[in-house]
Symmetry: C2
C-alpha cells in the first residue's frame, strides 16, 4: 500500500491510512506500506536548501529531501502502534533499497528485502520510506519524480506481493480528467501499455517509470482514493478485448510547447541529427513529425517538449539548424496535445477516422498528428483544447462503455 503526500498530510489522514493498513493486516495479509513526505514538505525542504544556495549540492539535497519521507513513515508507524498493532518503519537504506550513484534521480538497482521479510514474519506492518535508497557509497539517493510509486511497485515485485495499492487523491483512472469532462467515467481496468501511453500523454495519475517496472515484473497495481471509498482502477496486463479496438481514456496536456525547425535540407540523417542535439541536452521530446515541403526539397521537423525545457530546446535546435543549413526555429506556445489512448488502433482505422471527423465537425484545426497502436495524439490550438477533449469523449462513446472492473480481491 502506497500513501502519497496528501494521504499523510496531518494527523487525521495519517490515522486513516493507519486504519486502512491495519484493516488489510486483519484480513490476514502481510502488509508493506510505502509513505511519501507529508503534504508539501518536499517542496518546503527544497526551498530551504535554495534559501542557502540557489543550486544546492545534489548529494546534500538528497539527504535533505529524504528526511520528508522519514517524517512520513515514523508518524504512520506511531499511528499504527498507537492502535495496538505491531509496526516498524524503515528508511530506504534500512529497507535494503539499493540505488545507483546518480543523485536526485537515482535508479533502483536491486532490493535486498531480508529485514522487511523478517519484520513481516514477526507480524508487523512494515512502513518503508518512498523515494529513497542507499547508493554504493552508503549515501542516501532520491529516486526523482514518481519515486514513491516506484518504491512501492519495486517492493511489490521484490516481495512477490499479490498486488500494489496506490492510494492517491483521485478515485482511479478515468476516461478523461473529470474536472475537464464532467461525464468522464472511472475505468475498472487498464493495461500497462495503455497506462504508459496515458502517462506520456500528460495524465498525472502515475509516473511512467513505475508502470514500466510493473509491466516488466508483472506487478498488478490498483489505484484508488485515500479519501473516498470505491474500487479504484486495476492496472495490469492481460484480460480485456482480444481483437477489438478498445479506447480507455483521453488525456489533455497543456504543459508542452511545439518547436519547429523550418527548411531542413532533405538529406539522409538530418532528422537524426536534429534529435541528437536534444537528447544530448537531456531534453524530453514527444510527437516528432517530419513534413515534406513541396517547394525547394526541404523538410520541416516539429516536436513537442515540456514548457520548462522550451528555452534550452530552442537553443539546442538553433545550433543544429545552423549546422544543417536549416532556415530557422519556430516556437509555438499556444498549443495543447489531446491524446486518445487504447489498444488495437493500427488495425481498427475507425478510431482515428472518428477522431478526425469529430474535430473537423467542431471546426478544430489539427496542427500535428501522431498515431500508434496505443495512441492517437493531435496537437490543436490551446484555445480549443477543452472543447476538443469533450467532443472526442462524447463521440468515442467513452461514457457509455460498460464497466470492465473486476471484483475486489
Amino acid at each position: 500500500m502506497k500513501f502519497g503526500g496528501t494521504s499523510v498530510a496531518g494527523p487525521a489522514r495519517i490515522h486513516r491510512a493507519a486504519e486502512r493498513a491495519i484493516a488489510a493486516a486483519r484480513r490476514g495479509r502481510s502488509v508493506v506500506v510505502v509513505a511519501s513526505a507529508p503534504g508539501r514538505m518536499t517542496d518546503d525542504l527544497i526551498a530551504l536548501a535554495r534559501s542557502v544556495h540557489p543550486e544546492p549540492d545534489e548529494r546534500e539535497l538528497d539527504l535533505l529531501m529524504s528526511t520528508g519521507e522519514m517524517v512520513g513513515i515514523s508518524l504512520l508507524a506511531i499511528a499504527i502502534r498507537a492502535r495496538g498493532h505491531p509496526a516498524v518503519s524503515f528508511t530506504g537504506p534500512q529497507a535494503g533499497i539499493e540505488a545507483d550513484e546518480s543523485h536526485t534521480r537515482a535508479h533502483i538497482v536491486r532490493i535486498r528485502p531480508a529485514r522487511i521479510e523478517r519484520a513481516l514474519r514477526q507480524g508487523a506492518i512494515v512502513i518503508v520510506a518512498g523515494f529513497q535508497g542507499s547508493n554504493p557509497k552508503a549515501d542516501i539517493a532520491t529516486l526523482g519524480r514518481g519515486g514513491s510509486d516506484l518504491t512501492a511497485v519495486a517492493l511489490a515485485a521484490s516481495l512477490g506481493a499479490t498486488h500494489c495499492e496506490i492510494f492517491t487523491d483521485v478515485r482511479g483512472v478515468f476516461t478523461a480528467d473529470p474536472s475537464l469532462v464532467p461525464d468522464a467515467r472511472l475505468l475498472g481496468r487498464i493495461s500497462c501499455s495503455e497506462m504508459l501511453e496515458l502517462a506520456s500523454a500528460g495524465a498525472q495519475v502515475m509516473h511512467a517509470r513505475s508502470i514500466e517496472v510493473a509491466q516488466r515484473f508483472g506487478v498488478r497495481i490498483r489505484v484508488r482514493s485515500s479519501f473516498e471509498p470505491g474500487p479504484g482502477t486495476w492496472i495490469e496486463e492481460g484480460g480485456g478485448t482480444m481483437e477489438e479496438a478498445s479506447i480507455s481514456s483521453l488525456a489533455l496536456d497543456t504543459g508542452e510547447v511545439r518547436l519547429t525547425v523550418v527548411g531542413v535540407p532533405d538529406k539522409p540523417g538530418t532528422a537524426a541529427r536534429v534529435l541528437a542535439s536534444l537528447s544530448a541536452a537531456g531534453i524530453p521530446v514527444d510527437m516528432i513529425v517530419q513534413s515534406w515541403a513541396v517547394a525547394g526539397g526541404v523538410n520541416h521537423i516539429s516536436l513537442m517538449t515540456p514548457r520548462a525545457h522550451a528555452r534550452r530546446a530552442r537553443e539546442a535546435l538553433a545550433g543544429a539548424a545552423k549546422r544543417l543549413g536549416a532556415e530557422r526555429v519556430e516556437v509555438d506556445e499556444r498549443v495543447a496535445k489531446v491524446s486518445v489512448v487504447g489498444t488495437g488502433f493500427r488495425h481498427h482505422s475507425w478510431v482515428p477516422t472518428r477522431v478526425f471527423e469529430t474535430l473537423a465537425r467542431e471546426r478544430i484545426n489539427i496542427e500535428m498528428i501522431v498515431t500508434s497502436d496505443n495512441r492517437i495524439a493531435v496537437v490543436v490550438a490551446l484555445a480549443g483544447a477543452r472543447k476538443a477533449l469533450r467532443a472526442l469523449h462524447a463521440a468515442l462513446r467513452l461514457p457509455r462503455r460498460p464497466k470492465a472492473g473486476r471484483p475486489q480481491r
Copy 2:
C-alpha cells in the same frame, strides 16, 4: 566545532557557521563540524508526533527527531560547498557512531571513524549530525539531552582532536548568570570538575555527560559564542591554582523542589531505602540531607529533585515512608538552590564561612546546606534567591579576580 540549534537557524546563521568552519580549515586544520537541528525543529517534530499520539513509540520518535539534525548538516554542507570548499555531511550511522539500544536516551558505545577520517584525508570539512547514532539493530537512536555536545566531545576524543569548540548562544562560562548578576565576568578557563558541579548546580551552558566524557578522555573544550567575537571559556583539567581555594562561578537553580520524608525511624539502612525508591523510578536527586530530630529518635530526610519529577518523586517517597513507618512526605515548591563552584573548599573553610556570613548579613535563611570540595550549595526561599546570588557574587570578590584565560591556540 559544534553548532547548536540557534547557530544554524536560518540561512544567515548557516552561512556564518560555514565561514567559521572554512576559516579554521584554511588555517591548516582538519575540521569536523557537529550540527544540531535548526532552531526549534526538534520541538516541532516532537509536537508533530504527539499530534498523532500523546505517547509516541520511542523507536519511531527517534527516527522522527533524528531528521532535524539531518536537515542541519545538509544545509551546512550546502553552504560550505557553495563557497567552493569541499564538504560532506554524515548522519550518525554514516559517521560510525554506535549507540546502545535505549531509545530517546541512548549512550554512545563506540565510534568507528573510518569514513570521517577518509573524508578528512581528501580535504573535506566533515559535518556530522549531532544527537544520533546507529544501534545494534541498525536503527537510529537519539542520545537524549545534551546529545549534540556529547557527539562533538566523543568525536573529538575518537579522532584525537586538539580541542572541541562548542559554539552556542552565550559567550562562555561566567562567574554567574549575567542576566541575574550584572557584573558577572567571563571565565577564561574552568576545570572539568568545576564544570560538572556547575552543570549539576543548574547552569545551562553544557550538559554534565559531555563534560564527563571530556574529563575521561582528556578532551579540551572551548565554549564560545556563535554571534559575538571573543575568546570564550576553556574547559580543561590541569593548570590553575595548586593549593589555594579558587572560586569559579555561582549558579542559581529555580527548577527544583524540596521533598522531605518526616519522622523516619532511626534504624540502619532507612536512608538507603528512601533513596532506592527514587532511583528505581529513575528520578534524579541532588542535595540529600539527613537531619536528626532530638525528640523520639527519628530523622528527617530532605532532597531536591527537578520540578518535572516532583509528582512521581512524592509518590515513590510516600510508598517508602509507609513501608519504613515514617510520618509523612512534605513538598516545598517555593525554594531555590544557590551553588558556589570552585576547588579546594574542604581545606579552605573561609569559603563556606564567607558564604554563611554573607547570607546571614542579608537576612536570608538557609534551609539546607551541602558542601563538598568543589561545591557549596544552599537552599533558600525562592523569593530571596536572586538577592542571595548577587550578595555572594560581591562578597566572594568574583568580579575582581584576575582573568585566568589562556592564549588562543
